[in-house]
């Protein structure tokens, strides 16, 4: 419907973007290690890809897999989850609990057919500004190679009268995503 309101968050991901595609990556990071590490990267003027948007949380222990699912629903092509190294958790054990949760989530997403390279998990301490830069750049490179996560966006509801979210149909999308998965 030409006159419909475009409410599709991922409108700009129309297939045409495939060339010159810029991945959108959401990072869920803990306040004490990785967020501070990212601050250090800044104060050290370490240049890195600009595709990552950080959401600050107190601890990786606070991160619910639903955050990641919602990020994909909202058009993220990839996610980064990062916190304190084991034994460094500001809250003693938050990251240990998170580690188990992520392991299970990671397994399920793989079963379902989500390319694990769309999800980067890392430990980045407050003193590892350079590591943060590397994590960001590597994630961006991986996701750029995989292409837009149209397969997930294609799950969006297609209502009569509401402009359907851009991107190919579920089948086509999954196929293309698959093709990329195989290619890379």
């Amino acid at each position: 419907m030409s006159d419909a309101i475009d409410i599709s968050g991922a409108a700009a991901t129309a297939g045409g973007e495939a060339d010159g595609f810029e991945p959108r990556i959401t990072a869920f990071v803990c306040n004490w290690c990785t967020y501070t590490g990212a601050d250090l990267a800044g104060t050290s003027r370490l240049h890195m890809a600009s595709n990552v948007r950080i959401i600050r949380l107190p601890c990786t222990g606070r991160i619910d897999p639903l955050f990641i699912i919602k990020a994909f629903e909202r058009g993220a092509d990839g996610v980064i989850v990062s916190g304190c190294h084991p034994a460094d958790c500001h809250y003693a054990s938050g990251n240990y609990h998170a580690r188990r949760r992520f392991a299970v989530f990671h397994g399920i997403m793989e079963l379902i057919g989500v390319d694990p390279r769309r999800m980067t998990f890392s430990w980045v301490s407050a003193s590892e500004g350079a590591k943060w830069r590397d994590v960001v750049d590597e994630a961006v490179t991986n996701v750029r190679a995989l292409g837009p996560f149209d397969a997930y966006r294609a799950l969006a509801p297609k209502d009569a009268g509401v402009a359907a979210p851009a991107g190919p149909s579920a089948a086509a999308a999954s196929a293309s995503a698959g093709a990329k998965a195989e290619a890379s």
Binding site: G9, A10, A11, A12, T13, R24, T26, Y35, T36, A38, D39, A41, G42, T43, R45, L46, H47, M48, S50, R53, I54, I55, R56, L57, P58, C59, G61, R62, I63, D64, F67, K70, A71, R74, G75, A76, A87, D88, C89, H90, Y91, A92, S93, G94, H97, A98, R101, R133
Partner: protein, 675 residues
């Protein structure tokens, strides 16, 4: 409907160089719920803050987003400003467009676009912020000081003089620590005992200080302002109230050949003993391991084989059947001052360390360590201050001092510099030369580290005035060669191999944290570095705080320290504790979890994962008051706000204030603006 104000800071050129701040402010104008946007050169400057306050008042803003530097930098600043403008301070958040954007990107277009996203994200968060009140928790104005060396004593005295009770716990029989073993102290060469003893007595007699010697911290519960500490008073076998310190029991004791810890093994003591004459308290303990009576008991002999001390004690203070007792203390703040122990070059080493086979694993007589030399040089020591070597009591004519034994030797497992050795070696060389005028003092060193008031002058004096020979180089071998101790070294300046037939060798062995420090750190839930030294909260800005609120650190348990540093740290902790005690309640960020009792089913998952044991089960009752179930309850005093409970709650029945699901959900939602 929320009315958020967005304030974009140029940070001079720091942000403006790569981000078009005006464009960011412009882009945010029509963001749903945004009522005011502005960009300014220095938002944190006084006029900048004025701008924020004015905007809050003029546009009755319900939330504030400052797009500038990291929240770790200026969040407090702007929250204070918001507060002054009558807006709840927790309705103000920072969008980090400097560290996370302008400083790490070059392309102006990209950076500006990202800055807009970041700002939108935080606007979305603020739209769901709740006005919160800081949490107030009562403070028990009693301090616990663990370790009664010079640092512990100093901290205890400062706090006690500040008018608050102190519980001082010392695991040895006497307070005083290592300083009481020293002869003279650098760089002034004043007598250690002379300056320490008055402090020990003062601490002992101070009305505000409760002293527990021969005691250890068993268990620590609670949190800042409200710790409960369980202390183990080890069985002393001597009633502290009855004993008058006459010393008859010592004379009576038949077991007299036990190496004295205080004399660093250079003298003997009895089984019932006082560590040293000036001990505080001057009350003996019975060393049950070496006591004849207890040996008999361990053998299971029918009748007691000894009992002489008890017989001689007119006060009837001795009781062989006392056992460890426990006392619990309510505590508001804790100072850790457990000090150091010396690295020992022997074969048996704790994990990660290696001994010095090349130096004979400490089995060569007349190869001693610094503390042993202190005892030799001490007027109150086994030789009454005469420098006589242990093997045959002969006065050594050639003494070799070896620096950095263990220290700065990653190969042996210790990479750090023990810091005080350069100074005490100089002191030892000096003391030796003062006592043995015709003697030869040779020091092998890596570098001379004499930073400190009067320190360099002091070490030069050893060389220039007292004629100590300093050889720059390491010692490769030390072994007994007939009557002498042969020292093979290398002079890196002349490039020559050096062999010295010494009469005695003094090793400046490294300083290590006390044994058992890791266990203690766990009880206090503070972290330690790879060597076991306790981690400070910030190496520069919070050197005497730990990452556990209410636990402070002083002296050599944090890193190698000399006396003035240890004392300075101790007084610093004193100031911190007094500051904490200056208010009846302390304020905490309301970043705590809150349970929705309507939907919680009391499955206890949250309680299982809470690192602080802040979650307990609470009964809920129907209107007519009969118990109809259990739900989780989060103790806001204990909760530190990690949010792990919320992530594991299946029904999302617990919310972490300041990081609620709605806030995070909306931040993720903001990602839709990417295009």
């Amino acid at each position: 409907m929320s009315r958020v104000g967005v304030f974009v800071c140029h940070c001079g050129e720091n942000i403006a160089r790569t981000i078009d701040c005006a464009a960011v402010a412009e882009a945010l104008k029509d963001h749903p719920g945004v009522a005011f946007t502005e960009d300014y050169k220095y938002m944190c400057s006084d006029p900048g803050q004025q701008l924020v306050k004015k905007a809050i008042e003029d546009n009755d803003l319900t939330g504030v987003v400052v797009a500038a530097c990291s929240p770790h930098m200026h969040e407090k600043t702007f929250r204070r400003a918001a507060d002054q403008a009558g807006l709840n301070k927790y309705m103000c958040e920072m969008a980090n467009i400097r560290e996370h954007c302008s400083w790490i990107h070059e392309d102006r277009g990209e950076a500006t676009a990202k800055a807009i996203d970041i700002s939108r994200t935080i606007v979305e968060k603020v739209k769901h912020n709740q006005p919160l009140e800081s949490i107030r928790i009562p403070v028990t104005k009693r301090a616990l000081v663990i370790g009664a060396g010079i640092a512990g004593i100093q901290a205890a005295l400062d706090i006690a003089d500040g008018g608050h009770e102190v519980v001082l716990v010392e695991k040895e029989a006497s307070i005083g620590g290592h300083m009481s073993q020293l002869s003279e102290t650098f760089p002034t060469l004043d007598c250690s005992q002379c300056i320490l003893t008055p402090r020990m007595v003062e601490a002992y007699q101070h009305p505000n200080i409760t002293l527990h010697t021969w005691s250890e911290v068993e268990k620590v519960d609670g949190y800042i302002g409200n710790f409960t500490v369980k202390i183990r008073k080890k069985a002393r076998s001597v009633n502290e109230d009855l004993c008058n310190g006459c010393g008859d029991c010592l004379a009576a004791c038949p077991a007299k050949r036990i190496p004295s810890e205080f004399e660093a093994g250079l003298a003997r003591r009895t089984a019932i003993y006082v560590p040293f004459p000036q001990a505080v308290p001057n009350i003996p303990v019975l060393d049950r391991v070496n006591c004849t009576l207890f040996k008999g008991r361990r053998k299971g002999l029918a009748k007691e084989v000894c009992g002489k001390c008890k017989e001689t004690c007119l006060k009837g203070a001795i009781d062989y059947d006392t056992e460890d007792t426990f006392i619990e203390e309510e505590i508001g703040a804790i100072v850790v001052a457990t000090g150091f122990t010396l690295y020992d070059i022997g074969r048996d080493q704790p994990e990660g360390l290696k001994g010095y086979g090349e130096y004979g694993y400490g089995e060569v007589p007349d190869v001693i360590d610094g503390l042993q030399f202190e005892r030799l040089a001490s007027a109150s020591g086994p030789t009454a201050g005469a420098i006589l070597r242990p093997s045959d009591g002969k006065e050594p004519k050639t003494v070799v001092f070896v620096h950095c034994v263990g220290s700065r030797d990653p190969e042996k497992g210790i990479s750090y510099c023990s810091k005080i050795c350069c100074m005490y070696n100089a002191k030892h060389a000096m003391l030796y030369k003062h006592k043995v005028h015709d003697g030869r003092a040779v020091a092998f060193y890596m570098d001379i580290r004499a930073g400190g008031k009067g320190y360099d002058e002091f070490s030069r004096r050893a060389i220039e005035e007292d004629g100590a020979e300093y050889i720059r180089g390491r010692v490769s071998r030390i072994f007994r060669d007939g009557d002498v101790v042969s020292v093979w070294g290398y002079d890196t300046l002349s490039g020559e191999q050096v062999v010295i037939d010494a009469d005695m060798v003094v090793l400046a062995t490294a300083m290590r944290p006390q044994d058992g420090i890791r266990e203690l750190a766990q009880k206090l839930s503070v972290s330690t570095d790879e060597h076991g030294f306790i981690n400070e909260a910030h190496p520069k800005l919070r050197p005497v705080e730990t990452n556990t609120a209410g636990v402070f650190v002083a002296g050599a348990c944090q890193a190698p320290r000399d006396i003035p540093e240890a004392v300075a740290m101790a007084s610093a902790t004193g100031a911190k504790v007094l500051g904490l005690f200056s208010a009846d309640e302390l304020e905490r960020e309301p970043a705590v979890a809150v349970v929705d009792e309507n939907t919680c089913i009391g499955c206890t998952r949250c309680a299982l994962v809470c690192p602080y044991g802040a979650i307990e089960q609470r009964e809920i009752c129907t209107v007519d008051g009969h118990v109809c179930g259990h739900v989780a309850y989060v103790n806001p005093g204990v909760c530190q706000g990690c949010g792990t409970c919320q992530a594991v709650c299946l029904s999302k029945s617990v919310e972490l204030q300041t990081f609620t699901d709605e806030q995070i959900f909306s931040e993720i939602n903001a990602l839709c603006y990417w295009e």
